[in-house]
């Protein structure tokens, strides 16, 4: 399968006080269309930084990110924003819903931003489908503060998936959720990958979440230290991944 996402020798340095901190020190990888990959690693390993660079939220100090054939890291801010709008969807740890918009409006945001009428035609249909897919039908008019944490994260997933982006990037989406709710969220991501062919890139600390992935990249000190290929499986037990991590002494 062709690669939808490619990282080429990514370096990211931050200025911290008088000196620089290298969050990424030359990361190269490629993700194929329809693949589910996970980044794992200890805190400060650079996994979230990598996700932000891959999604075009931030720019690398050097190196390149190629998203669907376009070098997103070299585009102007407006062009990168448009590419991000059309090709990606984000899910964050802290839900990050717009508090003053209803559930439906939050989900409809990608269409609204693109200037499409969310109440008509295909957009309206997709919004309805996305809300139903995350089991929130009937709560369209609620505001985020009227939802539980799990429901809020499901709204965030619906928003990330509603415009059918080729790439969905999720940063610790289960980090703030209990086991059952977290599993529901992961199932939603899994379904979008298997049923709609969307590519999922997941950042997580949790081996149970990473176990949904086809491949797991393990990062440490700003570098990819290992790549674990789990393959596509319907059963997502974490035991094989944990065993493999143990074998590698991680």
């Amino acid at each position: 399968m062709p690669a939808i996402l490619e990282a080429r020798d990514l370096v990211k340095r931050y200025r911290l006080g008088a000196g620089d901190v290298e969050a990424l020190r030359g990361v190269s990888l490629s993700v194929e269309r329809g693949e589910f990959v996970a980044f794992m690693g200890p805190s400060g390993s650079g996994k979230s930084t990598l996700l932000h660079l891959l999604g075009g939220l931030d720019r690398p100090t050097s190196g390149e990110v190629i998203l669907d054939g376009a070098a997103i890291s070299s585009l102007s801010d407006d062009a990168a924003t448009r590419l991000r709008r059309e090709q990606t969807g984000f899910v964050f740890q802290f839900f990050n819903l717009v508090p003053l918009l209803s559930v439906r409006e939050n989900v409809a945001l990608p269409f609204m931003i693109a200037g499409q009428d969310p109440n008509r035609g295909e957009a309206a249909e997709r919004i309805g489908d996305a809300i139903a897919a995350v089991d929130l039908a009937g709560k369209e008019r609620n505001r985020p503060d009227q939802l539980s944490a799990g429901e809020q994260q499901r709204v965030a997933i619906a928003r990330a998936l509603v415009h059918r982006p080729a790439l969905v990037l999720a940063d610790e989406p289960t980090g703030n959720l209990d086991f059952t709710t977290g599993t529901d969220v992961l199932e939603s991501l899994w379904r979008s990958c298997t049923q709609r062919g969307q590519t999922i890139v997941l950042v997580t600390h949790d081996a149970k979440a990473a176990a949904y992935a086809d491949r797991v990249f393990f990062l440490r000190d700003g570098l990819v230290r290992d790549e674990i290929v789990l393959g596509r499986r319907d059963e997502h037990g974490a035991a094989p991944l944990i065993a493999r991590l143990a074998q590698l002494g991680l």
């Binding site: 407006d78 984000f90 802290f94 990050n96 931003i113 928003r159």
Partner: protein, 843 residues
């Protein structure tokens, strides 16, 4: 204490731009307050200096009420009254310095005011400091002192001659200038004063039988004499002609009172600006608390007491206040200088340089600091009330809720209202406070109504924007109701500023409309010829003017004063027949033809509605005037909507037969009505004749323009102050929007991550400002019209119909929306620059 102080200072330094904006806002507030204090002091000083220059060291001034003046017998009686040491008579008259006109449309020179004095007695009462030459010699009649303004205008130096025109049958006087008077406080409005020997003035202006009379006598009490006893002695001694007695204190009070309307409006502007500045302080400190909630929680967890947290916020306020006071002091003095210069041209009693009263300025600075501290109290208590555990959690609710904010708002309203009350000149009666209180009440109600109308009006305003920027409008709509109280406070500042400008515009337009209405409804002609001194009705000029081809009517109008019921009443003599023929005056009681015929017959008067109400007279009632030859009864033959404006209220209209009995010397102006279609050809011919007889032609349009220019000058000044209020409001909007942006960092980050471009973020913030401004401007415009209506109604009701001043209103609305939109540029830039990665990780 030192650590808390240092922390407070560092917090302000960390947010330099916002700190500077706030200091600027407070500085503007304090600056306007200082400017008001300095302006008030300058007005007082100008009044005192004017009185000193006019009255010298006189204890009492006796002024003739009748135009023909006080007789020599009255002057002698005054001089002989017990306790009188010096009685210095003066004759004042207006004339032209020389008539170069020989026909052919030559223009008249600028007039001068001649003051005839006794060269021996006058120096004992009036100092008249000289910048060149010497005083009037006692033994010469052909000498004059000229003011510096006149010497400068006409290029006069000591030793040169000045020729003064006199009454029609008097010869011009050729006088040698012996000195230049340095003082500026003479009676001439343009400062063109000429002091001549009394006998010379009397020969010029009172040839023949009427000689020997004077306009006034300045009396100095003997050493040790009680001035009030001297006043009583004068009352007993003077019985021949109507007169009025004025002490220096009364003269000063009159001059000060003539500026009370201006002071009242300045006070109101000060209140509005302080109000806006208080919003600004509140928002800044509340923002600081909201941003640092977690830090406050940590400090509390580490052992900082509630009192120390309160101190932390209050120290910040003190820093802001002191910074604002320094800016305000500089700004205020600059503003006051501008105000004094502008006032010099608009208010005769206000000419002079700015006076800086140290105590009052210190008080103004203290008031500014007090308002800053009051505005800081709510955020200080809010910060102190944050429980450490709550603060350390995510997104602690700091909104505080509407009731708290509104309570705070009320407290600030009361404080700035009290400042306003201190600044407003004390009215004659408690009822005088009603109008300013009513206007303040309107502003308060408008500001307090905002939290309740912001939602619906914001949606309405959004409808204007939605067709063009639907996404930005939708995202903004949410932001407006995010913190309704804060948005309301900000819009409140804009509301009062727009209301103030609209109200001033309304008052200006209505005043102008009243002046226009007088010209179009009262003056029976297309043109007015102004005489520099009264022209007798049997003067040949009247026949000459009437003989000009194309002139249909020339109607003499005389202005003078009468004494009736213990009051001085402005009075105007008119020809009833002319007014009837021209269809002038709008009668509200009495038959126009009968009433105007009664004037010509004598023994009758026509009153304006306002004057009739004030005197308690109805149609058929009798107004008894005191004249030199005895009481004159005038039956009220008619009541009109509007009569001729006088110095203090609308004039009583009488016929010419009564005018001469009441002491009028002649006509001061002539209203000329041209035959239909003849004006273009007749006017040049008439103007030629007029100039020959020293009559100044004035087109009604010119008069209207002159009235308008004078009004505009005054209102330009007030608008300047009101614009400061608008600037403070704009700073408030910038502050609030910045706070909104800072509170929405994460939300904006999410929107950016989801594909919102920087430009769209920028537009979202600007749209928010525009909607806020539209709501504020709409409410402000309504409040402004209501306030203007109240001020016009309180001004004596001379306006024919209320004119809201649509142009100013439109400009205020458009200007405030534009300014608020401009104010959004900074927060919009802040929003556009938010880094997505940091924003979405922002807790």
């Amino acid at each position: 204490m030192g650590a808390i102080h240092s922390l407070a200072r560092r917090t302000l330094f960390a947010r330099r731009a916002r700190t500077i904006l706030t200091i600027l806002g407070i500085g503007l507030g304090i600056g306007v307050l200082v400017a008001a204090v300095v302006t008030n002091a300058s007005l007082d000083a100008a009044a005192a200096s004017t009185v000193r220059e006019r009255l010298g060291n006189a204890d009492v001034r006796i002024s003739a009420l009748e135009e023909r003046g006080l007789s020599p017998a009255s002057v002698a009686a005054a001089a002989a009254a017990p306790g009188v040491a010096i009685a210095a008579p003066q004759l004042e008259a207006r004339t032209y310095p020389r008539l170069s006109a020989t026909g052919g449309g030559a223009a008249l020179p600028d007039p001068v005011t001649v003051i005839g004095v006794d060269p021996v007695v006058d120096p004992k009462v009036h100092a008249r400091p000289l910048s060149a030459g010497s005083g009037l010699p006692a033994d010469r009649a052909d000498v004059a002192l000229v003011s510096e303004a006149l010497a400068r205008d006409d290029g006069l130096v000591v030793g040169e001659t000045i020729t003064l025109e006199g009454a029609a049958d008097a010869k011009p006087a050729v006088l040698t200038v012996t000195g230049i008077v340095a003082a500026t406080g003479g009676p001439d409005p343009a400062g063109r004063n000429v002091v001549v020997p009394l006998a010379t003035a009397q020969a010029l202006f009172q040839p023949g039988d009427a000689g020997g009379r004077v306009s006034r006598v300045d009396v100095v009490a003997a050493d040790g004499a009680d001035p009030s006893a001297v006043e009583e002695a004068l009352v007993a001694a003077l019985a021949l002609e109507p007169y009025s007695l004025t002490t220096p204190a009364e003269a000063e009070a009159d001059l000060v009172a003539s500026t009370s309307g201006l002071r009242g409006i300045i006070a109101l502007v000060v209140v509005v600006v302080l109000f806006g500045a208080a919003f600004l302080v509140f928002n800044t400190l509340a923002m600081s608390v909201a941003e640092r909630v977690r830090e406050v929680g940590l400090l509390r967890a580490a052992g900082m007491t509630r009192r120390q947290v309160r101190l932390l916020v209050l120290f910040q306020a003190v820093h802001l206040g002191v910074g604002g006071a320094i800016v305000g002091l500089v700004l205020g003095i600059g503003l006051a200088t501008g105000v004094t210069v502008l006032l010099g041209g608009a208010v005769p009693a206000a000419a002079g340089s700015p006076v800086l009263p140290p105590l009052e300025i210190a008080l103004a600075l203290l008031v500014g600091l007090a308002v800053t501290a009051a505005a800081a109290l709510e955020p200080a208590f809010l910060a102190a009330s944050i429980p450490p555990v709550e603060a350390l959690r995510l997104q602690a609710d700091l909104a505080g809720g509407r009731p708290v904010r509104l309570r705070w708002l009320l407290a600030v309203l009361v404080l700035v209202g009290a400042v306003g009350l201190l600044l407003i000149p004390v009215p004659a009666t408690a009822a005088g406070y009603l109008a300013p209180l009513a206007v303040y009440g309107i502003l308060v109600v408008a500001a307090l109504a905002i939290p309740f109308v912001l939602g619906p009006l914001g949606r309405l305003a959004g409808l204007l924007v939605a067709p063009f920027l639907p996404l930005e409008e939708r995202l903004t709509r949410g932001a407006l109701v995010r913190d309704r109280s804060r948005a309301a406070l900000t819009v409140g500042a804009l509301v009062v500023a727009v209301a103030m400008i609209s109200a001033l515009g309304g008052v200006a337009a209505s005043t102008r409309a009243a002046a226009d209405a007088w010209l179009t409804e009262v003056v029976p002609g297309n043109e007015v010829l102004v005489a520099v001194h009264p022209v007798a009705l049997d003067d040949p000029v009247l026949d000459e003017l009437r003989a000009v081809d194309g002139v249909a009517r020339v109607s003499p109008i005389g202005r003078f004063a009468i004494a009736a019921g213990g009051y001085r009443l402005d009075t105007v003599a008119i020809s009833g027949a002319d007014f009837a023929a021209d269809g002038r005056l709008r009668f509200v009681a009495g038959d126009p033809a009968t009433a105007l015929a009664a004037l010509d017959a004598g023994g009758a008067a026509i009153l304006s509605r306002g004057r009739a109400d004030a005197l308690g007279l109805d149609l058929g009632g009798t107004l008894t005037a005191t004249a030199a030859e005895g009481p004159v009864d005038l039956a009220v033959a008619g009541i009109v909507d509007r009569s001729v404006p006088g110095e203090s209220g609308e004039a009583v209209l009488v016929g010419w037969p009564d005018a001469s009995r009441l002491g009028a010397l002649g006509a001061d102006l002539f209203a000329v009505r041209y035959a239909a279609g003849a004006e273009a050809t007749a006017r040049p011919a008439l103007d030629d004749v007029a100039v020959l007889y020293a009559l100044q032609p004035a087109d009604l349009g010119d008069i209207r323009g002159a009235v308008g220019t004078s009004l505009e000058r005054m209102f330009d000044l007030l608008d300047m102050l009101a614009v400061v209020a608008l600037l403070v409001a704009a700073l408030g909007i910038a502050n609030t929007l910045t706070m909104n942006v800072l509170e929405r960092v994460r939300e904006i980050g999410v929107l950016r991550a989801a594909g919102l471009t920087r430009r769209q973020v920028w537009r979202m913030v600007v749209v928010e400002a525009t909607i806020l401004a539209l709501v504020g401007a709409a409410v402000g415009a309504v409040a402004g019209v209501a306030a203007a209506g109240t001020m016009v109604a309180a001004g004596g009701g001379t306006a024919p119909s209320f004119d809201p001043g649509w142009l100013t209103l439109g400009m205020a609305v458009a200007g405030s929306v534009a300014l608020a939109t401009l104010a959004a540029v900074y927060p919009a830039r802040v929003a556009g620059r938010i880094e997505i990665v940091r924003a979405v990780s922002y807790e």
